[in-house]
Subunit: 342 residues, 2 copies
DNA sequence: GTCATGTGCTAAATGCATTTAGCGGATTCT
DNA sequence: AGAATCCGCTAAATGCATTTAGCACATGAC
């Protein structure tokens, strides 16, 4: 029908072409140490392999070795926010560097889909599993016992596990530092989430972010204006809090926002009063979502380093660094136009 | 070291446990038609397989059949915008429905990386290839001859190929229809891209979007105000055009924006003049990126249906519908708060 | 009773790469 | 010279599922 039977080149073909046995070919092409094959033989084989365009059959290799050179990524959400995509990018490039490929599945946050996906992956004999989460809660994952080496990215399990998290313990201090450099004397903190902040076991990232923030604030000379607790971290929430704050007569030199979506609402409220971030006051935020660069002026934000987190997960898996515990990645401050000073 | 040798359950184990041959087990478990095995035998085998938790070894199956039940997705960008993620979601669920898994690679738009990725995928014996693009230009892809069935999503090749595109030929008419329903008499079209609009061969989506828009506008009773050509489709461009438009005294009943990023800039310019979309005038946009729902008021937008496009690509591949040509997916209008009427 | 069919099932080949045990010849040691 | 060692290389086993050819027995036709 199609091409006249584009037969696959196998090791047998290379063996025949080079006049050596299949065993010799395999030994040579895999650079096995301790073998005693002659230089000419080695060269003949390599030449023949190249000539024929030989590529070992991955299925056959897997069948023999039990290894697939494939990693599984199971994410709760691929679709929303820049995070999942960036994590995927990090994982993809790290895996490619080490000659592995990546199988992807998505659970939409449903526990049974997670189990299903894990079993799928186990069935496909992946060499390791990465579980990615879009919000870093601690969950009771109830992972099926597959024996697969597993790393969680941006999440924790009730059971001990290997986890990669953003270094939120430093993030707040960094923010306060930058606010001080802006020359501010007073600051408003918009976006505490009451439940989350007081439950560090369940919400490691949020609680650490705020603990770090409040600790640094307390040690600083900054005057903290009001206490702006939100229901949620959406633009509407930031907008409402800021409108209220301005109506109550507060006029901070700087605003620290819980995240970029909150900051977006803050920007809108400020714009309505003719206040321009970066000129009339400073605004600093967390996460560095895509909207941070869309906003006018562009938003300075402390970035969630998903790409590096994904890459580290791959390395941990492939280097067999699998003692349960947390690995943390620093969060860089992405300087744009919403902060005064510097 | 680990578990005491968690040996894999093979077909031989099932064979032994059920007292039937391996051949019989394979025949039964695969529901081969035309076989004449007794009902009791069939049941014994199924019971044994279930009991032991037998799962066929994928590598062995692939080795035998030459099929891997794996699809390759190569995307130029996973990281930016919601599109790639959504395409991945569509592909993932469609593939899962048909019991296939998906291998993913990213090229960052670099042609040599594309070739590299395709060869990787071919080497891994994927059953089909999906090439995803974030902006739908026609490109000279120079695909290596792998013989792999291939579908392009949101892109075209110079050579004939199977492609899935959004149905932009309808999108403009739909937009104009909605603007008429809003009760508008006049409209401004913000965001023509001169080069792209006049080069339908290279920019099928943009040119069709605008051709459709202009055609429908000409047939309608609407007065079209000004001609707002942009350099690029970023918030800044939309902001600048709108500011200028308002300064020149234009005051359209409705604004149609080239895409959501442009609309974001339009919103900012309107806000500065105290104009509220959905109340003082209507704003309609294209793409339905995440920011569309972040904006205040939330932006009504005609959606790029990436998820369905991805899913269709999978079906085309698995159904072997591979005659070169275009498949189009309708673009739904996502109603939110920025349009009057209805 | 004999030949032809039908029935239920299995042995063995196959796909491909990897790895171990070991063969035959050359060299070195005693 | 005979034994021990080394060298360069290969035959064959292995991993697992699928599929084809065909075996042994039962049933039916004449």
């Amino acid at each position: 029908m199609d091409t006249p039977k584009a037969k696959r080149v196998t090791i047998a073909d290379v063996s025949e072409a080079s006049g050596m046995s299949k065993a010799a070919v395999s030994l040579i092409l895999n650079n096995k140490p301790g073998t005693r094959l002659s230089v000419e033989a080695t060269e003949r084989v390599r030449a023949a392999a190249k000539e024929l365009g030989y590529r070992p059959n991955v299925a056959a290799q897997s069948l023999r070795s039990g290894k697939t050179r494939t990693l599984g990524l199971i994410s709760d959400q691929v679709t929303v926010t820049r995070f999942a995509s960036e994590m995927i990018t990090g994982i993809l490039s790290a895996a490619e560097k080490r000659d592995h490929t990546v199988l992807i599945a998505e659970t939409f946050g449903k526990p049974d889909q997670l189990v299903e996906a894990i079993e799928q992956m186990a069935h496909r004999d992946v060499d390791g599993l990465i579980l990615g989460f879009m919000d870093s809660r601690r969950r009771d994952l109830k992972l099926p016992q597959t024996g697969l080496p597993t790393v969680l990215v941006n999440g924790l399990d009730e059971s001990p596990s290997v986890a990669v998290l953003p270094n939120e313990a430093m993030s707040g201090a960094q923010a306060v530092q930058r606010v001080l450099e802006s020359g501010a004397r007073s600051v408003a903190l918009i976006g505490a989430l009451e439940g989350a902040e007081k439950d560090p076991e369940t919400y490691p990232s949020i609680s650490r972010r705020f603990a770090s923030l409040r600790g640094a604030l307390a040690e600083s000379s900054l005057e903290v204006l009001g206490n702006w607790v939100l229901e949620d971290w959406n633009p509407t929430d930031g907008y409402a809090a800021t409108t209220q704050m301005l109506a109550e007569g507060f006029r901070p030199d700087a605003i620290i926002c819980a995240n970029d979506r909150v900051a977006m609402g803050v920007f809108q409220a400020l714009a309505e009063k003719g206040l321009v971030p970066g000129e009339d006051l400073s605004v600093l935020s967390f996460d560095d979502e895509i909207i941070a660069s869309y906003l006018r002026p562009r938003l300075t934000s402390i970035r969630l380093p998903y790409e590096k987190m994904g890459a580290l997960a791959v390395d941990l898996l492939l280097d067999r660094k699998l003692e349960p515990g947390e690995h943390q990645i620093d969060m860089p401050l992405i300087e744009r136009d919403s902060m005064k000073g510097e």
